[in-house]
Symmetry: C2
Subunit: 515 residues, 2 copies
């Protein structure tokens, strides 16, 4: 019998009934073999079959929404209205990919027709479209038990395009994962799909994760979590005889720049929005604004006062699990240990025995950042942020030029500010995946235009997003058909364009038939 572990109530720390077993290497192997065996039949299913499958997952989750929310609340402490809202987002995500399948243009079909009498050589008929890569291993995030977990963006994007999925259940919410997995399995059965299209294994150890990534049948990996965890999986995949991509989204500092005009005209309003963003979900967002830069002066002092007042008033809340709480405490202690960094404000009343975090706001001169980058470049996951007081505008550019890749950067500025700080905004665009003007980085809008990724370490591959419609691109590769008879081509590439999709035909975008 492999080692067992239990799940805990996030608020009380109490052990929840029931236990889970570390997957053995045999179980990992069985899951990926089943996925590999299911791949060919699954990739040949119709888009309608897969769209219905996704809709059944969404409907299945909605049918037991209260039960799921209750389970997830016990295991994550995220509460209401967050969890009901997140479940809606997860179900909407499955339906978004179902709609994408039915619309059909996601395959990026391209057709270049033959010219048999071309000189000096005939031009062949060449057609291309996206096809699934094969079994995908999904590691969900602790902070999104619905939207980035068993039925989250990675899973539904992979299933949509015809990739079987093996999920590694998150050890911090295994009960929620089990319930969600049963919903996906039931949806697969109802859709007449082979069992291997979806499997889940449990594990707290690195060994289970490494074994999944190292397995010869795995073709791609999706991960959301810490830099250390993501990089470890990336390294395992890179060392394989046949390397596979690990799409890891690993969080970032998400710096916020407060430009002078904005700071002078609406510091209070920005402070309110900033603290709400910083402390949303107890600060447990990948897009949490962990650093703020502004020119020193009375306006910044006023902002610090306003923001500090609000941070001090934040009610303590339990973090997702004790490990995250401990890491948060260690992270803020590392910052507090720097004597040049001051604590602007700290929320009171947190009970460490209940895993509760105190929101905290630090301030320092920007030179301290450059002196202590070893500490201050590192993300502290939780409701903590450091305000850097810059002596001059050029210092913000210097920060931007030296910063690590980040999911987002936010700039608050009047039109005149934005004009004056064009260089800063230009540099930021080479460092992040998303630029937010006069808003806040948390709260992702899931839509075709969203990009949730960015230069390393925000993500391991900046071309891909883990959230939004583009998330499926990680799990497809273009496939090229040369002189393949019409009857053997997928519908999407047939002359008659039976699905009426958008295609590029001889260089021109069209929904028309060919010939």
């Amino acid at each position: 019998m492999s080692p067992a572990f239990q799940s805990h109530n996030a608020r009380t720390g109490e052990i929840l009934p029931g236990e889970f077993h570390e997957a053995t290497l045999q179980q990992v192997d069985a899951a990926l073999r089943a996925a590999a065996a299911a791949f060919r039949p699954f990739r040949s299913t119709s888009v309608e079959t897969r769209a219905l499958f996704l809709e059944r997952i969404a409907a299945g989750a909605e049918a037991v929404a209260e039960e799921l929310i209750e389970l997830a609340d016990q295991e994550t402490g995220l509460g209401r209205p967050r969890l009901p809202g997140e479940l809606v987002r997860a179900c909407n995500g499955a339906r978004m990919f179902a709609a994408m399948l039915r619309e059909g243009s996601w395959v990026d079909a391209r057709i270049d027709t033959a010219i048999p009498d071309r000189k000096p050589a005939p031009k062949p008929d060449i057609r291309l479209m996206h096809r699934p890569v094969g079994p995908v291993v999904v590691f969900g995030a602790s902070n999104f038990p619905f939207a980035i977990s068993v039925i989250g963006s990675d899973t539904v994007a992979a299933l949509a395009v015809g990739c079987p999925v093996v999920v590694k259940a998150h050890p911090a919410h295994p009960h929620t994962c089990e319930r969600l997995a049963s919903i996906v399995k039931a949806a697969a059965r109802e859709s007449g799909l082979p069992d291997g299209v979806f499997c889940m294994v449990h594990g707290r150890s690195h060994e289970v994760g490494s074994a999944l990534v190292a397995h010869p049948a795995a073709e791609a990996v999706a991960f959301t979590g810490s830099l250390r965890g993501g990089r470890a999986l990336f390294d395992v995949a890179a060392k394989r005889e046949r390397p596979i991509p690990v799409y890891a989204e690993m969080g970032s500092l998400n710096p916020v720049f407060l430009l002078p005009g904005a700071l002078s005209s609406r510091a209070e309003q920005i402070a309110e929005g900033f603290v709400a963003s910083l402390t949303l979900g107890t600060g447990q967002f990948c897009t949490n604004p962990a650093m703020v830069l502004a020119q020193g002066g009375a306006d910044l002092d006023f902002f610090l006062n306003e923001a500090g007042r609000r941070v001090a008033a934040v009610a303590p809340a339990s973090m997702l699990h004790r490990g995250i709480h401990q890491a948060y405490e260690q992270g803020i202690h590392r910052i507090q240990a720097l004597e040049e960094v001051l604590v602007t404000a700290k929320a009171s009343g947190a009970d460490p025995s209940r895993g509760q975090a105190s929101a905290i706001l630090f301030e320092a001169d920007s030179e301290i950042y450059f002196k202590h980058q070893d500490v201050l470049r590192e993300e502290v996951f939780g409701p903590s942020s450091v305000v850097l007081r810059c002596p001059e505008p050029a210092e913000m550019v210097r920060f931007a030029e030296s910063m690590d890749g980040s999911l987002s950067a936010t700039v608050h500025g009047t039109p005149a500010d934005l004009e004056e700080y064009r260089e800063l905004i230009d540099v930021l665009q080479t460092k992040v995946g998303r630029l937010v003007i006069n808003g806040y980085p948390t709260g992702l809008e899931v839509c075709p235009s969203l990009h949730h990724g960015g230069p390393y370490p925000a993500a391991t591959h900046s071309h891909f997003t883990s959230i939004g419609l583009g998330a499926y691109l990680r799990f497809v590769r273009p496939f090229c058909f040369q002189d393949v008879p019409e009857s053997m081509l997928p519908e999407e590439l047939q002359n008659s364009n039976p699905r009426g999709i958008w295609r590029m035909v001889n260089g021109v975008r069209t929904q028309a038939t060919v010939g």
Copy 2:
């Protein structure tokens, strides 16, 4: 002074006048620093500036075409009509990307407009488009001194999207590289671009290549060459503190399947086309058909006889350089050393002192392949192919299921054959990047539908192509603008759609304006 090396006449082995120096670490650093400094100005240039730059490269090469062809012929022995044809392809490639820039839809613009009064939270305005990743390091191929070298697909695709390029000159044709680099530099000057948009360094040692890939300013790497060379660079990049993608195209076996109906009705014609494909450019193509599978019997014997007769009559020709010739000789000796493998035919008259290769055709029972995969799975770069005699149709499926990733697979079959072998064709689609029916794998058609890549080891990342319009996708990443004022948005994302490009607006593809 760093170590010097010379170039050689590919046919005679004579040293060509002039010498080249291994780039020092300082030179590598200077090249990448210059590229990094040029990135921000270069990415801000208009598409028209970059289109003109590409066209000047093409025009510059065409203006000295005879000189380039003469140089390349000395250094590669590829001769005419191959080299003039390849130069045309390279110049067409530059112009294809210029046309792509002017058309403009390559940025994959997406717009989701705001809904300020949405409940429970306002919907922000989100817009997305492709932006360049930064400095790209290009390693050209020995076998394409024009089309996959200094002015080849990798370089022009990267320059098109606004990525500065540092080329590592191929040590087997450094004179050709120097001449081409001077053309690119002149085009950059004429276009008013900073010098750092294009640099070239020389080197034969692994150290130069590794230093380029390890340099902190490098953002992506393109490589075409051997599995060993590509994997070495991949490993360097994966071990960086900040890993970067290495897009390596590393060749493959490109198996050809001869189905019974085709073999019985047109074995002679297939043999003619096959031998032409096998020996084109002295077999020095990544898509060279290095393995043939067919059911044993009289039809296959007839094919072997016809193909063997043609292989025996192939005139000897010098390979690209002595190193490749030596590797070819070693590769065919490894195969010949297997006693169960017979030499069907071998061309005579090759003069090893002139680096000349003899085309060779082997035959063996398919079980020998499974017994000696250590030898037979490995690509032998040159005009060598092994015909595997299969005892039954299922053996071809077994081969396909066990084969490594490959750039292409080719199937010759009558309509009835293709119907009967659907399973084989289905399995092949999970293993290769391009399926060719009743044709030959060599001779790429450069167009939007082409995919030149495939599962590892054909390429390090199966989502990307190194040839064709899609080649630029390796050098861009999506960038997301949230609530960014119209005046600060790139033209491609402005409401008025001033460039008239195709965009996805609120989920619908359109060339229309917004609002």
